[in-house]
């Protein structure tokens, strides 16, 4: 990677997150009226940080990410909120500006590499075309860079001439990562980057991503439904339910002290590797029909601790007071020297949690 410049860390201004998403709303235009798939979702990603977005399929996690790059196709529209990248207003960008912005600043790693790669173009062509598009290089130089990128993810350069179907699943995913790194972007969106792979390959790929992150210093928006991966990988985690964020907290804090009944339910539905054996319980019921979501808190029909107010009022995301946290998890609170831009504290959108934990409004 000698020929690539370091990530745009130099442009960093203190106190400013790399990506800031505020109150983002996405709706689908349907014949029976608009369906809101993402409802006032906010999060920030600091430099070098990994922010995890978790939730069941259909919860809007991929939709939110794609909306932040303006990549959603019809009938989607963004109906509110702000997306700022290094202070640049992504929602105000025009078509040309967006084409220049994409991949250079934010690159994507798709869930299924098989579907993300064009079956009729060689691997080399698919890496080189994005380099040629964004940088003023000859095609020979672009191919040379493509070979370097393949080497970076541990694939020999002879594979440049291979077509996607000639590679194994793990190799394809590495190729997708190599394409994502082609312009050395400061931020990567990873949408379930390993779900389509078997467990051993999954581990290898994740380790590789971690190493590359260490080396190149990019930030990650990590989207998954797998909470155990989150703990391993993320600094901060946001839990989405039916298009709304219901809990945001530093990963360790969230796992030690989940506040939202949905988060707790999610945790219980995974076997714990360490610690006492617990019964695995799913969450009763199924995610709501987004065409007519429940009133108030969208989780209340499935919630075992719901109180009368839950179906009346939509709970706001509030920051739990430090004492409550201290009480709950002992010494492990926010460290004061946490990197700039990282979500501080523990926020939850739940009437019950707000009552019991004691809180201060944001």
């Amino acid at each position: 990677m000698s020929s690539t410049p370091p990530p745009a860390a130099s442009r960093a201004r203190p106190g400013e997150p790399l990506l800031s998403v505020r109150d983002l709303c996405v709706e689908y235009v349907t014949p029976t009226g608009p369906v809101r798939a993402v409802d006032r979702v906010s999060f920030e990603i600091g430099r070098g940080q990994v922010f995890g977005l978790a939730g069941e399929s259909g919860s809007g996690k991929s939709t939110a990410a794609m909306a932040a790059m303006r990549l959603l196709q019809p009938p989607a529209v963004i109906t509110g909120g702000e997306v700022h990248y290094e202070g640049r207003d992504v929602l105000a960008m025009g078509e040309d500006e967006l084409r220049a912005f994409r991949w250079k600043e934010i690159a994507l790693v798709f869930q299924s590499a098989m579907n993300a790669l064009n079956p009729v173009l060689t691997v080399g062509a698919q890496i080189a075309d994005v380099i040629e598009r964004h940088e003023n290089v000859s095609s020979a130089q672009a191919l040379e860079r493509a070979a370097e990128l393949l080497a970076l993810v541990g694939i020999e350069s002879s594979r440049l001439r291979s077509y996607p179907h000639q590679l194994s699943g793990g190799m394809r995913q590495r190729v997708v990562i190599a394409i994502a790194l082609a312009l050395n972007p400061p931020l990567l969106f990873m949408d379930e980057p390993t779900t389509a792979l078997d467990v051993v390959v999954q581990k290898e790929i994740l380790q590789q991503i971690a190493e590359l992150k260490e080396r190149l210093g990019f930030s990650i928006l990590f989207i998954t439904h797998d909470l155990s991966l989150m703990l391993e990988f993320c600094d901060t985690v946001g839990i989405l339910y039916a298009g709304r964020l219901c809990e945001v907290a530093p990963a360790k804090e969230l796992f030690a002290n989940p506040q939202h009944p949905y988060t707790r339910g999610l945790m219980r539905s995974f076997p714990e590797l360490h610690g006492p054996k617990q019964r695995i319980e799913g969450i009763p019921g199924s995610p709501p029909d987004m065409r007519s979501p429940p009133s108030g808190c969208r989780f209340h029909p499935r919630c075992s601790v719901a109180i009368p107010v839950c179906d009346q009022e939509q709970p706001q995301l509030i920051t739990l007071a430090a004492p409550a946290l201290a009480r709950a998890v002992g010494a492990e609170t926010d460290t004061p020297d946490a990197p700039v831009g990282q979500q501080r504290g523990h926020r939850v959108a739940c009437h019950v949690a707000a009552q019991t934990a004691g809180s201060s409004d944001v």
């Binding site: 019809p74 009938p75 109906t79």
Partner: protein, 321 residues
């Protein structure tokens, strides 16, 4: 919403069904309302006038009457062939897809061979050896037209066979015939309808072609024989365009109506093909030009837009506090 209800609420389907309905009506009662189509009635090759709306042929027959009367045989054979072709296609396709193994190998091979053999020359050879007339034509069209439906229905059967309800029926010990025709067939309504329409379009077109080649009964009045006589009597040299245009336009209108219905069926079964008109209207109403990137419409604009005035979804109205 059931398939047929969806079809009735589709604009393209409505255009097609209306147009088709008009022609079916013409074919049914029209012949009773016009002059005798075979009689010598007026000066040969007289251009359209107030008495003979579409002029006369070189035999002094009424072109208007011929066009109306011709609709009957042409449509009747078209629909009949369509029905038989779909029945054969469904039987062969479902059998091949359901039984698999050597049955599938043999039936698929046969299907693919008939699909690739050019239809018209085979039809000509067959028709030439048979007694000229509508029955022979229908037989020839069925023989040359069944394969496409068999292929499409086999593919659909293969995918339905993997579905739970078919597996359940097999485990429950239902007879094979029952599973094929009472479990699988009803789940292919749209495919059967579009197959029928496609076969009818083919049958009408090919029938006109064969009759144009004098392989029909040239003494009967059909759309194909109308064109045969027009060409045979040098309609172009005599510049009597009215002897060819009306019949051709009718054939095309019927074909267009049928294809529009199939177009609508495609849209119903493949949601991706549905028009993005609603989305576009909403985006434009907000003063944004639709492009490739997700448009940004500021808060409230969606609910205000007229395009979705009947919006019942609570998304914006209630909760965007």
């Amino acid at each position: 919403m059931s398939f047929f209800r969806q079809l009735l609420s589709n604009r393209k389907a409505n255009i097609g069904l209306t147009l088709l309905g008009v022609f079916v009506l013409i074919a049914t009662i029209g012949p009773y309302l016009v002059r005798d189509a075979s009689e010598f009635l007026t000066t040969p090759l007289s251009p359209p006038d107030s008495e003979f709306w579409l002029g006369s042929t070189s035999q002094g027959q009424d072109v208007f009457a011929q066009t109306i009367v011709g609709a009957r045989t042409s449509l009747l054979i078209g629909f009949l062939v369509g029905i038989v072709v779909v029945a054969i296609g469904a039987t062969v396709g479902i059998a091949a897809g359901f039984f698999g193994g050597w049955v599938d190998d043999v039936l698929s091979l046969l299907t693919n061979v008939f699909l690739i053999i050019p239809g018209l020359p085979l039809a000509v050879v067959l028709a030439a050896y048979l007694e000229a007339g509508p029955v022979s034509i229908a037989f020839v069209l069925i023989l040359t037209g069944w394969a496409w439906n068999a292929r499409v229905i086999r593919a659909q059967t293969l995918s339905l066979r993997r579905k739970d309800f078919v597996a359940a029926a097999i485990v429950a010990g239902e007879s094979r015939l029952r599973i094929m025709f009472f479990e699988i067939l009803p789940n292919m309504t749209s495919l059967i309808v579009s197959g029928f329409i496609g076969a009818t379009v083919y049958a009408i077109g090919a029938q006109v072609g064969l009759e144009f080649l004098a392989l029909g009964d040239v003494s009967k009045v059909t759309w194909g024989t109308n064109l045969y006589w027009a060409a045979n009597n040098q309609a172009l040299l005599t510049e009597s365009w009215w002897t060819i245009v009306p019949t051709g336009v009718c054939v095309a209108l019927v074909g267009f109506a049928l294809v529009m219905i199939n177009f609508a069926i495609d849209e119903i079964t493949n949601p991706r093909l549905r028009s993005e008109g609603g989305w576009k209207a909403v985006v434009r109403a907000a003063g944004v030009t639709p492009g490739f990137s997700t448009p940004v419409l500021r808060r409230g604009s969606l609910a205000d837009s007229n395009a979705l005035a009947d919006s019942s979804a609570p998304a914006l109205s209630k909760e965007a506090s």
